[in-house]
Symmetry: C2
DNA sequence: TTCGTTATACTCCCTTTGAGCATTATTGGG
DNA sequence: CCCAATAATGCTCAAAGGGAGTATAACGAA
């Protein structure tokens, strides 16, 4: 197509305009990979689909036959899980030089977040669904602040701050610790998943940060590690999801067709890693008309039977951006 | 490095696990481009840096020498504008097959949003800074709803809805029109920039949608067009920025060192495309301690002199996410 | 001096939201 | 059959947030 060629030359003309040379080898050494953070919530626990002895996120090369990145991922995941992907969202594209491979090779990793419902283990799957707090144990505050934070994480981080080369850096590190981990009377902010991971990474408390540098260093913090920067990608996905559930009704992609309000609440809590006030949660969900009664009751474990609800899919059309703003309890 | 190679084989092992074949040609036909939406606000108008007769966003190939995508962009933009990029954020990565090039070639476009202050035109720049509402004239609601919406856009969109093949599609289109353009008593939502662009695109009202199909079709809506999908990328950038200014103090990256509160307000209004309530805006900015007085006054045009303020950079360290939540006026 | 214009200070009121209390409906022992 | 435990559900209250208007102050220009 001549239009296509014109467009390309236009691009390079633009590049030349702003002082960028067209590379000698037009096409070389670049591989694009798709990496997926596939999330499900089962039995009140948040899970992520893993492979390779639970040390990797599913990933694979982007192929020329795919119509678009999104469609590539969709095809790929549905073949894998035999289940429709309710919701897919692009997370981030990385191309850092230190991700592996030789210097003249480069992987561009395009990461996605996908929401689905957990499926029984298929044949050929190496590991399957893992509780995501196995990888980031400091993120689960549902039953209170995890003891490992005070026991292990904060002492190590404070040592890291103390070892700063200048007072300014020291102060900056102290501030980041306080903000991300909610010390000094600051509130815990569940959305800062990535910032916490990166702080720990910088502090050398994450095994991934110490690859290739086999010196002693501080003892790494607990939490299962992953290949390459997959744990960072997982952190990115969790952060995005925790932010998103507050203003967009994506939680329902993780729920069965009908559910009780407590089940819905437990799902939100699993994702957010913290508890919400039950009555306020119901008030919010109902007054926004996110759900409708099925007319049936759940004959669940102990207590008064709960009404079963169903997601009102119409809200996706009625409004643009709605909110399941979590009423977060301080306790 | 053996670790690197192990990691790569691991990736392909993972791919094989989930049913994806390793491509025969390991590296082929993929080019990565960086595209930047560089924003400045001058004289109360929002501008975007363009090239090629104002028909393209600055872009260029991602080179292997760059340490990371972000650093590549930074280097590149600062060489171009001779001005530090205050804030850079990744927007989206596209690889749609219809973006140009031959079928065995593929461009991956990684787009970024960058905030800076407008610079005088340098030599060799084809065009420079353009008011972004030249490209998306339906987005500027500062002086009321643009007449072209009622005169041109809505009639064309309603015709598009009416021409739907089935009643369901018709209803869906009507809903999208109402939600994105705020008809039927719905409020105007300034964040839906991309949704509006895509609706117009689908309706064939955007020249970019009609390339290669030289039939008549409906008359395109006003607004300057761009090469490839650059206008879509611009819409993505504006949407992101409009959302971001509400919870993160990025506006200050566009302001001079010292400014009056009205100047700050005009900047926010320029970005949001709508007016805010002056007194409430001041209340919000001051009670969040986003700014501090310089002690000086501005001897500006007409009226009582205004205090000059300066951004309190400390807030970036003190808090994690703060808000310049716009108090939006209904009028 | 008066008017136009902008800055700045306060007030009002309605909605949202965090938190707690009370009541209802079941199940599973004594 | 009564009672404790467990949930579901209904309701109230107070504080904070946010939209909107009034009032006053300080300047330049006619």
């Amino acid at each position: 197509m001549s239009t296509a060629e014109t467009a390309t030359s236009a691009l390079y003309a633009a590049a030349a305009d702003i002082g960028i040379a067209e590379p000698d080898v037009h096409v070389s050494g670049i591989v694009a990979d798709l990496v997926a953070v596939l999330v499900a919530v089962t039995a009140g626990e948040p899970r992520v689909l893993t492979l390779q002895d639970a040390r990797a996120l599913p990933s694979g090369p982007f192929e020329l036959t795919h119509r678009s990145l999104q469609s590539g991922l969709h095809a790929w995941v549905e073949r894998q899980t035999h289940h429709p992907l309710g919701y897919v969202e692009q997370l981030y594209t990385f191309a850092d030089r230190d991700r592996g491979l030789a210097p003249d090779q480069r992987v561009i990793s395009i990461s996605y977040l996908g929401l689905t419902r957990e499926q029984p283990r298929g044949a050929g799957e190496a590991t399957g669904w893992q509780d995501w707090y196995n990888y980031l144990p400091w993120e689960d505050h549902r039953v209170g602040v995890p003891p490992m934070i005070d026991a292990v994480v904060l002492p190590a981080l404070r040592a890291f701050a103390k070892s700063a080369p200048t007072p300014a850096v020291r102060q900056d590190r102290a501030n980041r610790i306080a903000v991300t981990f909610g010390t000094d009377g600051r509130p815990w902010n569940e959305e800062l998943v990535l910032q916490r991971y990166e702080l720990l990474f910088e502090a050398g408390l994450i095994p991934e940060a110490r690859r290739g540098t086999p010196d002693a260093g501080p003892a790494p913090v607990q939490g299962r590690s992953m290949i390459l920067d997959h744990r960072r990608i997982l952190a990115t996905g969790i952060a995005r999801l925790r932010a998103k559930i507050k203003y967009h009704p994506v939680v329902f992609e993780l729920m069965p067709d009908t559910f009780t309000l407590l089940q819905l609440q437990r799902c939100v809590e699993a994702l957010a890693g913290r508890l919400v006030h039950k009555q306020n949660f119901r008030r919010l969900v109902e007054q926004q008309e996110l759900v409708e009664e099925t007319g049936q009751l759940s004959q669940e474990t102990g207590g008064r039977p709960a009404k079963l609800f169903r997601f009102r899919r119409e809200v996706l059309f009625e409004r643009a951006i709605v909110g399941t703003k979590l009423p977060i309890s301080r306790s």
